[in-house]
Amino acid sequence: MRTRWQTVAGGVAVGLVLTGCAASDRDAEEGASASGGRDTFIFAASSDPASLDPAFASDGESFRIARQIFEGLVGVEPGTADPAPLLAESWEVSEDGLEYTFALKEGVTFHDGTDFDAEAVCFNFDRWNGFTGVLQSESLSYYWQKVNGGFAESDVETLDGTGKYESCEAADPSTAVVTLQSPLPELISALSLPAFSMQSPTALEEYDADGVTGEGDAPVLPEYATGHPTGTGPFVFESWSPGEEVVLSANEDYWGEQGQVRRIVFPIIADATARRQALQAGDIDGYDLVGPADVVALADEGYEIVNRDPFNILYLGMNQANPDLADLRVRQAIAHAINKEALVAQTLPEGTEVATNFVPPVVAGWNEDVTTYEYDPDKARELLAEAGKSDLTLDFNYPTNVSRPYMPTPEQVFTAITADLEAVGITVNPVPDPWNPEYLDKIQGGEDHGLHLLGWTGDYNDTYNFIGVFFGGPSNEWGFENEDLFAAINDARYVADIDEQTAAYEEANAAILDFLPGVPLAHPVPSLAFAPYVQGYPASPVQDEVYNVITFTD
């Protein structure tokens, strides 16, 4: 009997040893495949895509996948936020800014064999504009609504026939003419968003793309959006196992350069630490949203750190519903009290720029000559004394348990600013709230807040996409009414001539910094990390990153 137990114990021991050997085998195999032509790119996603149909998505993870499968009429110049030809080789805009003539790339087919032509372009435009019922909720067609302003028909008064889009006509198979009701100069930039990708009309109809059921906030997506996205891009959809992974494979008939990557896998790993460990364990080739603390450590271990040009803004909001903050002198005092250079050096990733405008410098309309508020504690004290607020106490709201691209460590930013404010005699009352759902609700949903930290990452190269979002009208977040400012921003949006529009936005930016509703703090650099053998990741400020240009080395 003893022998039997000994056999069992021995078996367990042998099993463990074998597993150990197997592990080393695994390493050896990986090494071999690296030199023998690696062709699968494994990039960790932080969550499932909301929808595989990009027309119904507005989140980064959906767009990341959409950019591999789909292409729009307009792309961006690599590494910048500037629009560039993609499926449209060129375009002409009429004098009055109402007629857009797109000359389409020829010989392109969708993944299902359908021809990409002017008919397909018009089919997509008419589809977006013709969304009805639940499809008009913000959780689905957010971008069409934001950019176009409405739909052909709607039960909601503000959306009913208020869109800029008028019609689309296929003049010939390779010429599509889009007509607007009133000018929308940002249209070309906006068309670079994955939400406006060209999709196969055949597949959209076959898999019932518009058959969304349920309610706007809890939609049940149709077959197309869960399993049959069909575009013209370099990768073809293969499978999606929710919570597990999304798999794409190379498009054999791609019109452009197909490149070395034959397969893309997006394993879904929600936790940032788990993503880092997966990279260190060799399970994945790269991941996004690397924590600032991990950047240096990973770089030291030999991993490739890739930085995106910042296309975002982190700011300190000052809610003027609070009477103290309604006093311009108090707001100026706060701006002078903050040592932005020290803040950036201490709490934000390397390479982060100090902000002066509410838009990043690469956006047209950024103004070099806005009023800046130098770090000057004495001046801050003077201004407070002048306002009769030398012993001011302010609520300071900040989010916890969250890491945003424009704000990797909110607690640290809060602490640094608080120290600066207390140094000039302002007593800070800390109000921490979890990001989801309390924080945004409190800041954007009600008046009960004081100073707050928030930010924004741009969708495409357009000033309105920043300052219009913040200051385009009265809001709970800022708590002020300033008709002149609202008008300056909204009028600039529809100036058809781009140069005139840029000048108008520059003026608006200057007006904002004089009125000082908040303090622009920084444009933090977002980082990605890769295994050393991954080369050529096409980092883009607007995250227009398509993986057919990635190469692997040994």
């Binding site: 009997m1 003893r2 039997r4 137990w5 069992v8 114990a9 367990v12 597993t19 150990g20 197997a22 592990a23 080393s24 695994r26 390493d27 495949s33 699968t40 494994i42 499932d48 349920g214 309610e215 706007g216 906030d217 809890a218 939609p219 049940v220 997506l221 869960t226 196992s241 929710p242 919570g243 597990e244 992974e245 798999v247 397969r263 896998v265 394993p267 879904i268 790993i269 929600a270 936790d271 788990a274 460990q277 997966a278 260190q280 364990a281 060799g282 399970d283 994945i284 759902p437 609700d441 949903g445």
Partner: protein, 334 residues
């Protein structure tokens, strides 16, 4: 035997009914009610109103409950607000992953726990015994998630022996006729896939198996010590039975009875431990889906999964009791 099974199945009905009532009331008792839970914190009053009418949340509770129960009985557990797919589909999709993990964890626990406990009892007071005591103490005191983090950090991140997450190497292309990846690889003769799936199971299974392992080792030790001093063992020895027969047929056989009950009880613990282990290793089973559902307040999934897990748990316990009856004839009489 049949009567035992029938009686247990009959008992299951009131248990599940009770649980379903609790789960039903739980969502109704949430601030804002089920409509708010469905729509999220920022829903407008109009939307809440619309949902209330659409799903009948404004009707009397008993009526709502009966409707809900009727849907459950037809396999309609609602739709996950996070993925937009039926809860039952989500469960069935992930169930094989968790079963596979739990089975391997149980194999680890039984395969190490019983020999360890037996050896400790046979060599009571000697070094093997001390080791066993320490192991079982650590096993029950170290939290599962901590052990999981530790194993992952050491064997996946630092040493790189095992993968840190998932069920399969993402670069692997494999077919899955059954959803049990190790088995699938064997069935389709994709040995690499089978092996890869197994390698992915090792760390989570060891973490998940740690508590049952410790408990099984302890019970085995105590039970063997108990039995080996029993009168019938002495009688067997006195009658000249061969020592290895005494150990095998008499001591071990009799000592296994409490151990098998313990193993059965551990199965339920495995399901709850899976929530933590699967989350740490990003292992796509029901445990991870449940923890994702908790964070995204996906109430349909929480309700449905808890009910389904209860059914599975009850079935497993029934199986354990049946096997218990097979080992000990006295049980059948009761």
């Amino acid at each position: 035997m049949t009567r035992l099974i029938l009686r247990r199945l009959a008992l299951l009905v009131p248990t599940l009914l009770g649980l379903s009532i609790l789960l039903f009331l739980w969502v109704r008792a949430l601030p804002g009610g089920p409509a708010q839970a469905l729509l999220g914190e920022r829903a407008t009053p109009e939307a809440v109103e619309r949902i209330n009418q659409l799903y009948g949340f404004d009707r009397p509770l008993p009526e709502q409950y009966v409707t809900w129960l009727g849907q459950l009985l037809q396999g309609n557990f609602g739709v996950s607000t996070r993925t937009g797919r039926p809860v039952l589909d989500e469960f069935l999709l992930r169930f094989p992953a968790t079963i596979e993990l739990s089975l391997v964890a149980l194999l680890v626990a039984v395969g190490v726990g019983i020999p360890l406990g037996y050896l400790a009892a046979r060599h009571q007071g000697r070094s093997v015994d001390h080791v066993a005591v320490v192991v079982s103490l650590l096993g029950v005191t170290v939290p599962v998630f901590f052990l999981a983090f530790l194993l992952k950090w050491l064997f996946a991140v630092q040493l790189g022996w095992f993968p840190s997450s998932g069920r399969q190497d993402p670069a692997m292309i494999a077919t899955h006729p059954t959803g049990f990846y190790v088995l699938d690889g064997l069935l389709t003769r994709e040995w690499d896939a089978s092996w890869d799936a197994f390698v992915h199971l090792v760390l989570p299974a060891v973490a998940l198996g740690s508590i049952p392992l410790a408990i099984i080792a302890r019970i085995t030790r105590a039970s063997v010590i108990d039995v080996q001093h029993a009168d019938y063992v002495r009688t067997a020895r006195a009658k000249g039975m061969r020592p290895d027969h005494v150990r095998g047929r008499v001591i071990l056989h009799n000592a296994m009875l409490p151990v098998s009950t313990t193993i059965g009880l551990q199965v339920g613990l495995l399901l709850s431990g899976a929530v933590l282990t699967e989350t740490v290793f990003a292992y796509p089973g029901i445990g991870k889906f449940l923890s994702d559902a908790i964070f995204s307040l996906d109430y349909a999934v929480l309700q449905g999964f808890i009910l389904l897990i209860a059914v599975v748990y009850a079935m497993v316990n029934l199986l354990v009791d049946v096997s218990y009856g097979l080992i000990d004839p006295r049980m059948r009489a009761r």
